[in-house]
Subunit: 357 residues, 4 copies
Amino acid sequence: MLRIGMLTSGGDCQALNAAMRGVVKGLANSKQEIEVYGFMNGYKGLIYGDYRLLSKSEFSGILTKGGTILGSSRQPFKLMRVPDENGLDKVEAMKQTYYKLNLGCLVILGGNGTQKTANLLREEGLNVIHLPKTIDNDIYGTDVTFGFQSAINIATDAIDCIHTTAASHNRVFIVEVMGHKVGWLTLHAGIAGGADIILLPEIPYDIKKVAEAIEHRTQAGKGFTILAVAEGAISKEDAKLSKKELKKKREKSKYPSISYEIAAEIQAATGTEVRVTVPGHTQRGGSPTPYDRVLCTRLGAAAAQAILDKDFGNMVAMVNGETKRVPLESVAGKLKAVDPDSQIIKEIKQIGISFGD
Amino acid sequence: MLRIGMLTSGGDCQALNAAMRGVVKGLANSKQEIEVYGFMNGYKGLIYGDYRLLSKSEFSGILTKGGTILGSSRQPFKLMRVPDENGLDKVEAMKQTYYKLNLGCLVILGGNGTQKTANLLREEGLNVIHLPKTIDNDIYGTDVTFGFQSAINIATDAIDCIHTTAASHNRVFIVEVMGHKVGWLTLHAGIAGGADIILLPEIPYDIKKVAEAIEHRTQAGKGFTILAVAEGAISKEDAKLSKKELKKKREKSKYPSISYEIAAEIQAATGTEVRVTVPGHTQRGGSPTPYDRVLCTRLGAAAAQAILDKDFGNMVAMVNGETKRVPLESVAGKLKAVDPDSQIIKEIKQIGISFGD
Amino acid sequence: MLRIGMLTSGGDCQALNAAMRGVVKGLANSKQEIEVYGFMNGYKGLIYGDYRLLSKSEFSGILTKGGTILGSSRQPFKLMRVPDENGLDKVEAMKQTYYKLNLGCLVILGGNGTQKTANLLREEGLNVIHLPKTIDNDIYGTDVTFGFQSAINIATDAIDCIHTTAASHNRVFIVEVMGHKVGWLTLHAGIAGGADIILLPEIPYDIKKVAEAIEHRTQAGKGFTILAVAEGAISKEDAKLSKKELKKKREKSKYPSISYEIAAEIQAATGTEVRVTVPGHTQRGGSPTPYDRVLCTRLGAAAAQAILDKDFGNMVAMVNGETKRVPLESVAGKLKAVDPDSQIIKEIKQIGISFGD
Amino acid sequence: MLRIGMLTSGGDCQALNAAMRGVVKGLANSKQEIEVYGFMNGYKGLIYGDYRLLSKSEFSGILTKGGTILGSSRQPFKLMRVPDENGLDKVEAMKQTYYKLNLGCLVILGGNGTQKTANLLREEGLNVIHLPKTIDNDIYGTDVTFGFQSAINIATDAIDCIHTTAASHNRVFIVEVMGHKVGWLTLHAGIAGGADIILLPEIPYDIKKVAEAIEHRTQAGKGFTILAVAEGAISKEDAKLSKKELKKKREKSKYPSISYEIAAEIQAATGTEVRVTVPGHTQRGGSPTPYDRVLCTRLGAAAAQAILDKDFGNMVAMVNGETKRVPLESVAGKLKAVDPDSQIIKEIKQIGISFGD
């Protein structure tokens, strides 16, 4: 009998359920008898022993369901070695739960932080398999993460909707897209939505260049301009600040987010009315796109095979169209950001989209 | 030969193009020869003589297209009698354009403010026909306005997306829905999205009642709560303020909108994390729903018939499933708000949704 | 303690779950203790005693879920008085189940046939409440049925998709829309999708007129034509046949449905290539539109109130924007068809859409 | 001055306009002066000299628009060397048009057949660039074709809709997905839609195995089964027939397509009611998904760069996430089919989906 544990950690996203379904269906068709325990609310459930035995039927009909049937929570990696408010050693607690339940493996779905803790558990001797979940697409070692394409669709829908209203009113519109550290989501949604200007964390902007791009459009007779702005977009000046200085500056800012600040700057520079739209957490929600459903079904099945092969300590990734086991030690702690000199950026610049640089 | 003018005024919305297509197709099939002049950017185009002759082919393929091919702008009714910065008498200017072009009728698409100006032009002797456009559904004398059902769909999509993420994280979420004066859009999107609490301008809320409703859910084992909050939601205390006092208070507020204020109050009262999502102008955009396309095709055809009948001075409305000509003088200046004692509010209360009252 | 039974009968559609949720939530907030029994697969469950006690939590999260959690089946009204293959008297069996369970009321969701059986049970002395479900919108006594607007959206999506491909290839396309007896769905989807020709059961077509309308478009430089054709569309000649003769003719036809026959006729008459698309049962599926969710929530709440008021024997309908109890005896057996002389048909003809008549 | 020609050939699909926009925007931002001629209705326009100079503004706002602004038609490769009904040598005619207009390059968007003709024109000395368009994803030398992901979404939507109705009625449903020669679209839509059985041209089925899979589900308490069946699905017996014999058999068949035949066989074998849905040409229509919009923007920009580099005779492909120029001579005439022994097929079998083999 094989007993596995499963948890979803960090910000939720689409297709978490689809991935878990893939794992469980992949195991259910093996000859081995399997028990799957679900830990509630991410690592929290593992630390505090909040879990339940999952029946196979719970994974039926969840392919298209957003969110996660296990719940999730953020448990920062850097606090994992810090005892909790009652002095509990979290890492030890997780190990105890693991051994108490006599688990053969832990399947962990999550992003970069989650991956680091998964790697830590691997170092501590647990059998772990990680599945790369995040709308940010910033996990090193896989071509794509699940949630990414689904989030692109929602952010693009928002830009599509703004397009018709922007064109009717000759205004400048900013759509703020999720992504504090990396700009993949903003880049793709910006291209797909036909944004005129795209501002990413990886390519600091010069507000003068942004204003020029807007005025260039006005002169060309285009009455409106749409900007796709990442939550982590940053000006060239701010990019020179230390992390600490930047944090301080942001905290003192009167604007709820960078988009509002950029809006004020554009208004000052061009005299045009600027409106800000913040789709926010909707980008994490809803039914996963067919792309993500296929991706997760494959990753889940491949994870099941890895479990049956007793091959642990890996992230199951998608590389050049094939699922692949990538050692956690080789990827944990690395971030995949947009390269300003990459082919895609050059292509997008060529069609006339400005990055404000 | 019949020459008509057409303009779209106020905040744009879905199905404006569909309605104009209905008018033009309805006229094109009559035996009369017709010329249609489009005024650009609402009353602005009529005031300053910015117009062009529209070809029939421009109305082909726009049934599904959001926005307005004529552009729009806000020209407040209360400033219509006030000369512009160059001393121009706007009403006289509009009349001059009308007579210079020898128009037989003006078809005016817009909301409450637009309707008031349309009525003013009628009083000044022009032949006008008004079509009730607004996502707010607050026009008196028609059962429904176009844009309303389309906006409900977008706001509901947002709540649907938030549902999966809220359920995964045990949080309180506020989705801010458009509507400063009336709550129709928030009410319908809130019901359709399965919101637990709905706050409307017409039903002032008591933050204690809101907090109670949230805690009631927590006690019932529901980890999350979703609020649909209208832009114009108002507390019982604020509802006692004069318009002037309220405006002053809002201007001094550190919150960008009422939702952020309510979020802070809930957080203080319940200790739960609250997240705010603001779909904003996306609610005005995108392709109209089939409902709005049918509505606008009918209103447009009925307006065409009214023109052919030389029956002017009316809004073409939808009443009990039939199009109807409603005299502008009987409706201009009236607002259709949600009645707190209406059947729908009672029904929604009965299924356990709280209005915080 | 109040014990009610509930069943969904006939072809399934969107928003059945939303309506049941409305009923149960509406009852749950009353002071009375309630038990709800669900009968599986429509009247079948009532006849053969296949039921289970439903928990309140089963109605949580189903607002947006298509289909019916109770299952459905077709049990023709005309066979209700005919014993089953084992000689069972179905009506007596239903009454026995009702009395055995000591039910206070039966809530029955279904279309025209379902309504007739509901009325029969009323005549037999049972307390029944009927909710008007059907994508056909053909129930007499209510302005709208649930499922109708959701089905319009799916059929319109199909026409929208066909539009781009038709325009690229200069072809004639037929989209076959559900509706054997009435054409409401075809009419609305046809208008919303911008169909050029709409063929309904209520308005027999002349294939020459259809061909003329296509050639008229070709002459006007429009390379393509889209027809929205109801499953029950009928030619003027066939309309003269007796029901029996028609049935015989259809059975002998080599075409799987009327659309293929019309396609062949158009091809013969105009020489143009014609393609047929049959969205079929997709029109009954998927998540209900916000319109249907609001409608069903209201109907459900109103049904709950009727139960609490002990006011039985009615359909809970939507009339002029208000929910209303309509006596079953006044509506059962009546069909609401499209009136060829109605305002909507005149309006649609005015904008140049042909009905082939 | 650089003068280029552009045409779209074969069955239309989503994102053709997006790709052309990418090419034109990519060229417009170069320092070179450019003229773009559009040939109407594919190679037909090139053969018969039906073209027009395109303005840059025609490419504005078409990113999201389905179909092709140039029109398309099927001109089979095998007939290219055969004179037309007036004895015209088509290849010579194309060359004459090319030289008469003094074109520097032809940008050709299309699938496998189109690519073969593009390669023929290259052999004849013309400068050509090919962009891989097809919902079938069967073009050798590129990881993905545009239209594919958009078509998956539409086919998956259909399966999603069928899911709710199938579950309500305990039926077997077949959704027929486009694809006569290859099964990529059916495979991906089948996985994404949660189909239980997937039948592809590349994996001949045994109807007994199909019936077993259905009965296996019935025994497991699942009342319904959904099959995703490619237009080109084939039984093991038929797979043994020669191409000629098969064609003959199909022509004599009383079923409009293979799905209806399979439905009859299942009904005979299991006694269960089977319903067939044929989304048909809707799969080619509608607005492209964000994925396809990004793909086409990149391919278009890369094609523009290839033109500026005067590097001709290639398909611009997407390989491992990067755009790449692939010599036409190395790919023309090759087909990319689903490999029955590939990783994806093994993964999908592992989660319990049957291919009927």
